[in-house]
């Protein structure tokens, strides 16, 4: 029984610490993360430095045009799109459809599971749909300026797979959500987690990559080889 094992292990640990208390060494405290006061262009440069492509969009129309251009540039016939107020508010899913891109909208609710093989649990339909898409469109909840990192929260209408399975991952980012660095994210994360409705937070820095064969860097190991960030220089 793991509860017996739990008691056994915790009891061992308490006895160990009673016999050998751990000394905590001194350390200089970390400097507080500074507030970020850069521009959309600064963010775009940070994303580019991380290996993504970034475009600053001055208006909703500009952003919609850029999104369609990205879809055409990469020959996207099908897009997996988050059900996010910013995407709906800008009509981006309609823009894609008008450009001839079929849109798979994230659906909440239980899987419509279908068994691939009789003895296996059914696969996740949302993941299967994302795997068949050429482009995934999500919205970053925060961005880290120092590293060009996109911070994504999972949730209803925000499947994890949309930023993972399509070969092109497009993220909308706003300077209004920019934090200086990872240290600055921690108090924000504390607040999000305190809401208790969160299953995951994912900090994505650049495209998927690997150096596992002779340390030669190759993009697109399992996640997307291409990341495009559309930086909205207007309220999202």
């Amino acid at each position: 029984m793991t509860s017996d094992s739990r008691d056994f292990i915790l009891s061992n640990l308490r006895a160990a610490l009673a016999a050998n208390p751990v000394r905590v060494p001194e350390a200089r405290p970390r400097a507080a993360s500074p507030p970020w006061s850069g521009s959309a262009q600064d963010l775009a440069r940070a994303f580019e430095a991380a290996g993504a492509s970034a475009r600053v969009c001055a208006s909703p129309q500009d952003l919609a045009r850029e999104l369609v251009r990205v879809a055409r540039e990469h020959g996207a016939a099908r897009a997996a799109v988050w059900g996010h107020p910013a995407i709906a508010g800008l009509g981006l899913d309609r823009e894609l459809e008008q450009a001839g891109v079929a849109v798979v909208r994230a659906s909440g609710g239980p899987d419509r599971a279908r068994a691939c093989r009789p003895s296996w649990p059914g696969e996740n339909l949302s993941c299967r749909e994302a795997a068949g898409a050429d482009l995934g469109l999500c919205v970053a909840d925060a961005v880290l300026a120092a590293s060009g990192t996109l911070v994504l929260r999972s949730g209803p209408g925000r499947p994890r797979s949309h930023a993972l399975l399509p070969p092109v991952f497009v993220a909308l980012a706003s300077p209004a959500t920019a934090l200086a660095d990872l240290d600055g994210l921690m108090p924000v994360l504390d607040g999000w987690i305190g809401e208790k409705a969160l299953s995951g937070v994912f900090c994505v820095t650049g495209p998927s990559a690997t150096g596992d064969i002779e340390f030669v860097l190759v993009r697109g190991a399992h996640g997307p080889p291409t990341v495009v960030v559309l930086v909205a220089d207007f309220p999202l």
Binding site: V22, L189, D190, V216, G220
Partner: protein
């Protein structure tokens, strides 16, 4: 369970005499060490970061049972299930039962040294569950029927040509370039991510105050393993917990730079339990398995407990001259290099018998490289002392006493070295002794010392 094998000395001797392996290892560790060196050069506060990381680890160890209880409470509140396992047998049984009872036939795995320690893949296979490694390096060594040779880069001992031959043999597909080979693996594993009933990962850190399981990666396979399958099982050794997000930040300030030379990894993920109502993907079940396997006993040891600070960055491997000479497989244990020598001696002393602790030059490069300030030489010397006290020294008592006398007294040391140089001025005749093939290979590759015998003309001038 994979304990330290007794044939480490013979495997090390064979590896040391393999010039191809030596060449590959030299290039590999130089590359990894170079990544870290460049990252640290760009980090003016590197020493402060190491101090903070060491303090964060010490804080965690000092409150370990309370933190584990806090972590358990928060994850349970979020709908996860936390299992405690005393040993590998129990951990394997927990995961195996989960897989079988849920009808899982295929599990996809992120890179996890603790599951190597468990021998989990073989256990699952015995239950009819295929465990497919998805990290590219792990996938390659799994196809090759080998074990990982490095904590961070499991296939660093294999060349592109080796991988191309392997993929042609096992996948029936030919690739030449690094890009083509990576694409072949991506295509081969894509359906597995979608079809698997279970995703199994390790844990880089677990944050007690947040109820968060934290993982770092670059490929995206860990996030996929936790997005598509219905069940996510995360396995961690009990010391991986940290108190709060501030302490996590201290660890993340050193882990990516010291491991791969990065500021941040490609993906840094916080897993907070199963999917919430209304979510379309993510696991329906989230399980955390907390493994002891001898570590709670280690916490009581005044010298060895510091091993539990380790964050598995691999930095000690990349600077170790012994690891560079013999590679990871020679260690014949889940964990190679200096961390492997410490864990083998501390967790499995009867099986290890101090062998790996004695395979150390005591140069101290590992301690200098360690981001959490583990004093590797002190630990290894203590393991040697204990092995000697238990009658397991590799040297006969008389020879060990003679070495101790020579090394402990400057006059005796000087006399011994002078005598040796009289017999062998270039310090290379020793290599002709039988049974020292590895030493012969090493000496054949190094430059001459330029040493002169003490009474030769020119002695004492120029190079020492």
């Amino acid at each position: 369970m994979n304990g330290p094998s007794p044939d480490f000395p013979s495997r090390a001797a064979r590896a040391a005499g393999d010039p191809d392996l030596r060449r590959v290892m030299r290039r590999a560790v130089a590359h990894l060490a170079g990544l870290r060196t460049r990252a640290l050069a760009a980090m003016p506060d590197a020493e402060d970061r190491r101090d903070r990381a060491a303090a964060a680890r010490a804080r965690a160890l000092a409150a370990l049972p309370d933190l584990l209880e806090g972590l358990t409470a928060r994850l349970t509140e979020a709908g996860a299930t936390v299992h405690f396992a005393r040993d590998a047998t129990e951990a394997n049984a927990i995961i195996g039962r989960l897989a079988v009872s849920r009808g899982v036939r295929l599990a996809v795995k992120g890179k996890s040294m603790v599951t190597e320690e468990l021998g989990l893949n073989a256990h699952l296979q015995s239950l009819g569950v295929t465990a497919r490694e998805t990290d590219l390096g792990e996938y390659i060594v799994q196809l090759a029927g080998q074990s990982p040779s490095h904590i961070i880069s499991p296939a660093l001992h294999l060349s592109r040509e080796d991988v191309a031959r392997l993929f042609e043999e096992k996948l029936g597909k030919r690739g030449e370039t690094h890009e083509e080979l990576t694409r072949l693996a991506r295509e081969a594993l894509r359906e597995d991510f979608l079809a698997a009933g279970m995703g199994i990962t390790g844990v880089n850190a677990a944050v007690a105050s947040a109820g968060a399981v934290v993982l770092v990666e670059n490929e995206g396979n860990i996030r996929l393993s936790a997005a598509c399958p219905r069940i996510h099982v995360a396995v961690m050794t009990l010391e991986k917990v940290v108190a709060d997000l501030a302490d996590l930040a201290d660890l993340l300030a050193v882990l990516p730079p010291f491991a791969t030379g990065q500021g941040l990894p490609g993906s840094l993920s916080f897993f907070l339990g199963p999917r919430r109502p209304g979510e379309a993907d993510g696991p329906e079940e989230f399980h955390l398995v907390v493994l002891d396997n001898g570590r709670s006993r280690l916490l009581a040891d005044p010298v060895l407990s510091q091993i539990l600070r380790c964050i598995r960055c691999g930095a000690c491997l990349n600077v170790c001259p012994v690891y560079a000479a013999v590679g990871g497989h020679a260690y014949a244990y889940t964990y190679p290099g200096p961390i492997g020598a410490m864990l083998a001696g501390a967790l499995r002393p009867a099986e290890d018998q101090g062998r790996r602790a004695f395979a150390c030059t005591l140069c101290g490069a590992c301690a200098q490289a360690c981001p959490v300030r583990i004093d590797h030489p002190a630990v290894l010397l203590e393991l040697r002392r204990r092995a000697g006290a238990a009658g397991r020294s590799p040297l006969p008592d008389a020879l060990a006493a003679a070495c101790a006398l020579a090394l402990g007294h400057p006059l005796a040391y000087g006399a011994a070295v002078s005598a040796l140089r009289r017999l062998d001025p270039g310090l290379n005749r020793l290599a002709r002794l039988p049974g020292l093939k590895g030493l012969r290979t090493y000496l054949g590759q190094r430059e001459g010392t330029g040493l002169k015998t003490p009474l030769e003309p020119g002695a004492g001038q120029g190079r020492p």
